[in-house]
Symmetry: C2
Subunit: 688 residues, 2 copies
């Protein structure tokens, strides 16, 4: 009898059996088996580390403990871990064979085994163990009273060795804390490369002691000190992340030339003299930090020895800050206007038998390679560096696509066929506000291309690319996360993991959990909306933001001059994000209704219309005391008008002519208001 009672009690308190489909793992591991039973967390949960890991594992486990304790509020007894075999009987045993080296091709695999009373992480290197800890955190489940890990066996390794995010710190400077929390997020998503775009027309962001003019004249006081860079490199190392710095040359050089106009390519012709004698001469142009967005002509002079002297000195100072083996020299978007107009440069081309500006640029690039090589760095550049004379050691960064008039990813295939290693960013331009599915399904391994195994091996992976013309420290995270997690999955998980709906479901949990690392993608939305609403209730405007998306591609900043770098980015478009929250739910409701016109399905669609009608009323009320709401009203009115009519349509009570109804819906297809578009337009159309 007593025995039975104990059993029953066990039955009552045992946590529900978790199914594999319920797990919100991302990137999805290579192999996942869920078993019966659970490991339940308690105060005395402890971790032990054995083997020969790099000491970074201690910090990694301490952070793991703090995050798990923060989520669960359990008050673990173990606060820190600082040496091997500290707690031999700990429930979580981590074993690593060797210290992981930061860089490409390191063994990042791990296996994770959760049993009811013991958890084991085995990894070749501590980098794999760190990945295992992230997976374990994602495994966390709960019932109403306790937290537990489902018994399971996971073995895992990455598909690609280059899984990166590029942060543009030039257009809008992103302070150290923004960089650090994004490094944390990268580590959580098992990404291993942080490409730091440090120099562009809009600012030079590296303290350079030998060339202080660069920060004095070309940074607006916004730059990373060398110590901050070292500190960030260390922070990244502790999280298994390689940093690839970028100094973009010879184009995108407005900032450099603001400090050193004498190495620019632009010639200014002076005319003077007397009425008797006309004198012509040339002078050095002056440059200023660029405040707009776009492609600009300021370009280094590849024929001037001083150009190479300064670059060499800069590399001598900057390279030692970065222990990694790669240095990105940009090389993109040099249109050569100033080269064409400079007689001296034209002469140089002739003399050196350089037929095109592209060949001249390759000449330039090849001068840089040895400067980097002496610091043990391989040169990397955007795909424009690829010409016949380029050294085979260079890495080609594939970025152009239809928007630039070429086939997407073509340069990637070209590069590997010519023997270059390559990284894909085309299709991963997350600053352009395209839907997440487009990035998720963008595979660096081209389908249908006829590549040998050797050529395939040269495709290192991919990189999410976050340009910051329109992103400030307040909005940066919301442009990058959670979307980059889907890219992380593309780069880590098996090729056949491509179910968008399933990815979306898991992404919601990932997005929530990123908050614990300090990411601001969720919290800062309310901050922007409160400002727009002038501290009134943000319910209506928040609801409206759930069906609005920032204009996509390059359409928000028309001609690159609508917004300057100092413009306000505190607007409605800055609060909105791609994949607006309610659009998918509405589209599903519409599809269900069209497939099956039950009263229930009709009510679901009608609920959206009623909401949007009331949102419009709410916004009108708000606007009485909030000038920034005014620019949203015309769009909200259009959705409200369409909603009112569609309510009648649902009840077969609409008296509008078909053409008028169509034009009412068509009004919702506009980019004219507040730099956003209605994400439900396509679904609305389905109803007529």
């Amino acid at each position: 009898m007593k025995y039975l009672f104990v059993l029953l009690l066990a039955g009552v308190t045992a946590s529900a059996q978790v199914q594999k489909e319920q797990l919100n793992l991302m990137p999805w591991p290579q192999n996942v088996v869920v078993n019966n039973g659970n490991f339940t967390l308690s105060k005395n949960f402890k971790v032990n580390i054995s083997g020969n890991p790099n000491p970074r594992i201690f910090g990694g486990v301490t952070r793991f403990l703090r995050r798990l304790d923060g989520r669960t509020g359990i008050f673990f007894e173990q606060g820190y871990i600082s040496k091997l075999n500290e707690v031999p009987n700990a429930e979580l045993q981590i074993n690593c064979d060797k210290g992981g080296k930061i860089g490409l091709y390191e063994d990042e695999s791990y296996s994770l085994d959760v049993k009811a009373n013991k958890i084991t992480i085995n990894a070749t290197s501590d980098l794999g163990a760190l990945h295992g800890l992230e997976t374990l955190l994602q495994l966390l489940q709960n019932d109403s009273k306790s937290f537990y890990f489902p018994a399971s066996q996971i073995s895992d390794f990455p598909r690609f060795t280059w899984r990166g995010l590029m942060l543009d710190a030039s257009r809008h400077f992103q302070p150290v804390d923004v960089v650090k929390r994004n490094l944390d997020a990268l580590a959580a998503m098992k990404m291993n490369v942080f490409h730091w775009h440090l120099v562009d027309d809009q600012g030079w962001r590296i303290e350079t002691k030998k060339h202080p003019k660069l920060i004095e004249l070309a940074s607006d006081g916004l730059y990373y000190t060398q110590e901050e860079i070292k500190n960030i490199v260390k922070y990244a190392d502790e999280r298994g992340i390689l940093i690839v710095p970028e100094i973009d040359v010879p184009g995108h050089a407005s900032a450099i030339l603001t400090a050193y106009p004498e190495i620019g390519s632009k010639v200014i012709t002076l005319t003077g003299g007397t009425s008797e004698k006309n004198i012509q001469g040339t002078a050095i142009a002056t440059y200023g930090i660029e405040r707009n967005a776009g492609i600009f002509s300021p370009t280094l002079d590849p024929t001037n020895p001083k150009t190479y002297k300064i670059l060499n000195e800069l590399f001598d100072e900057v390279c030692p800050l970065f222990p990694g083996a790669y240095f990105h020299i940009g090389g993109d978007e040099n249109e050569g206007k100033d080269w064409d107009a400079n007689p001296k440069i034209q002469e140089f081309k002739k003399k050196n038998n350089l037929k095109t500006n592209h060949e001249l640029q390759t000449y330039f690039t090849m001068q840089l390679a040895p400067m980097l090589k002496k610091h043990g760095k391989q040169l990397m550049g955007w795909e424009e560096i690829l010409t016949k004379n380029l050294s085979k050691e260079a890495i080609v960064h594939s970025w152009r696509g239809p928007n630039e008039g070429v086939v997407a990813g073509q340069s990637l295939v070209d590069a590997v066929k010519k023997g270059y290693k390559t990284v894909l960013s085309n299709g991963f331009y997350i600053d352009l506000m395209y839907p997440i599915a487009s990035h998720y399904l963008n595979d660096p391994m081209p389908k249908g291309a006829d590549l040998t195994a050797e050529e395939k091996a040269r495709i290192l992976g991919g990189e999410a690319t976050m340009w910051t013309e329109l992103a400030t420290p307040t909005t940066f995270d919301s442009r990058v996360w959670p979307r980059t997690a889907a890219i992380a999955e593309r780069l880590w998980s098996a090729e056949n993991i491509t179910d968008v709906a399933n990815m979306r479901k898991r992404l919601e949990s990932v997005s929530f959990r990123l908050e614990e690392l300090g990411l601001t993608h969720i919290r800062n939305k309310a901050v922007i909306l409160r400002n727009i609403a002038n501290n009134q209730n943000i319910k209506s405007i928040n609801e409206f933001s759930n069906v609005c998306e920032p204009l996509k591609g390059y359409t928000r900043n028309k001609g690159g001059t609508e917004y300057q770098m100092y413009s306000p980015f505190t607007l409605f478009a800055d609060a909105c994000t791609p994949d607006a929250k309610d659009s998918l739910a509405f589209d599903e409701a519409v599809s269900q209704y069209l497939a099956n016109k039950t009263p229930d399905n009709k009510a679901k669609v009608a609920a959206f219309f009623n909401k949007w009608i009331s949102v419009n009323k709410g916004l009108i009320e708000l606007s009485a005391n909030a000038p920034l709401v005014q620019s949203i009203l015309p769009l909200s009115k259009k959705l409200s008008d369409a909603s009112q009519e569609l309510l009648l349509v649902l009840d077969n009570k609409s008296t509008l002519k078909s053409a008028d109804l169509k034009s009412l819906i068509e009004q919702c297809n506009t980019k004219e208001h507040a730099d956003v578009e209605l994400s439900v337009y396509e679904s609305l159309k389905k109803l007529i």
Copy 2:
């Protein structure tokens, strides 16, 4: 006819006349006159600077432009300002006679004159001009379509010269970004002293190159590098703020002694030898970083020359990082236990005719004064440093009160009567979660004390004191803001500005505006609640947090051992704040109802009860999938039970005996759940 039409139109578009009472200025200026008319903002609003200011004004005005543009979304044409007389015809003219010196007694006055087409700020120093810009930002008004400043004349100056905030970076390390955004908030509130508590039992937070053991062994890797410190000092200077660093000695020394046990006071007696011969000896005690909160015995040995050698070397390294004229050496809470137990120290006291430990401590303190003086620093310390031998140059920091068994502020009066300058922190301990009114009404100038003008002049001002035993980087801001703004007003504004209700009204606007500086006091609440709610809807738990306050005084962390420094501070109490949002509104509703039992007034009270009943239901639902909600349920049930019965009471339908009703309400008077208390208990009591 045409003329009339124009006039009418002008009448329609002109903004409403603002009354002085509507302005949300804080701290309230010394003189405010509101005139007829408004200055309306437009794209071409520009600023010009003239006179002889310190160049910090350029950064200050650029930040001002960015904030104003961010609020209004106007897209000002002027992005930056970097020299004098750049825009002679600008609408806003700023003139400063001289560069302001960071420190006490500088002229911080300004006058601000807003006319319909021109704004003028005149100030002796740029520090005054920066204050004027903050006032101008607070003057901003809007109607439905435009933003404007009401025509007005303001002349202003501070009442006290020391208006400070202390940040404890030892108990919980607060990274650079937390420090910086709090400096921004201080500047917005016209505060001018940042007291940086850098060393305590729980950690040494300053990089010391000559004594690397301090950071290696006593910081858990969490410390400010010297470059970061310099950078923060510069950041503060740019905002008119003096930094006063603190190294707390001779008590609170666990961290220092973890690195240098040989300068500790504790003696360990060893007993050994053989069976024939008993040998006794002494050894150096070892110490560890303290993880709990409280007063601990580790104390420096004031009789050991090495103590002074190390301190001297530390000051030599740390003092030059801080250009300010003051250095805080702590000196508090040395209970002398280890001194009493150390025969060598007792002998030293006898030999030097030091009768008490207090005298011994003064001996210690006086050894430090010349070490600081050689770096041009005056010594400051907590009030325990005050004894008869203390140099008159020292500043006495008054902090103890009834909780420490002494009369509040007594040490302040003692100090000034004995000829010392003093700063008040008693009554400004914002970490203790007391209501804002108590801090607001706490005047550094003691009422009724018989002080001469000279003695009064020695009262420099006051300082909000934020200890971080229970505050992490995530919660720090919400413990400090907006409450410190009320303290800022106490220290800046005229003595008779004491209307609490009026202050509360203005504080709401101040709190909202602090968000634009990156302060997280509002946004991070939702982050904590989302974690507790396990990413479910936070509406119920947020509503409940509006009637719950963290336990006050030292009651949350019983005995200092309930929470360790590594405990989770992601709990309900961490999301709650003093002056819970709904309690005042409820209390007003109750008072109105009791004064006048109209159906309307009854309905207002009943609405609260109905809300709390539904909140309880909501929390029960949440808890099914959120273990962290469980600990809140008992408290929410008590409020719901009381609410249900009180609804009956309102309708005269309650059948409970008076004693039972009383006990039902009394249940709401508890500190037993989730480290919070119900802020509406006193108001509930009024209803029975």
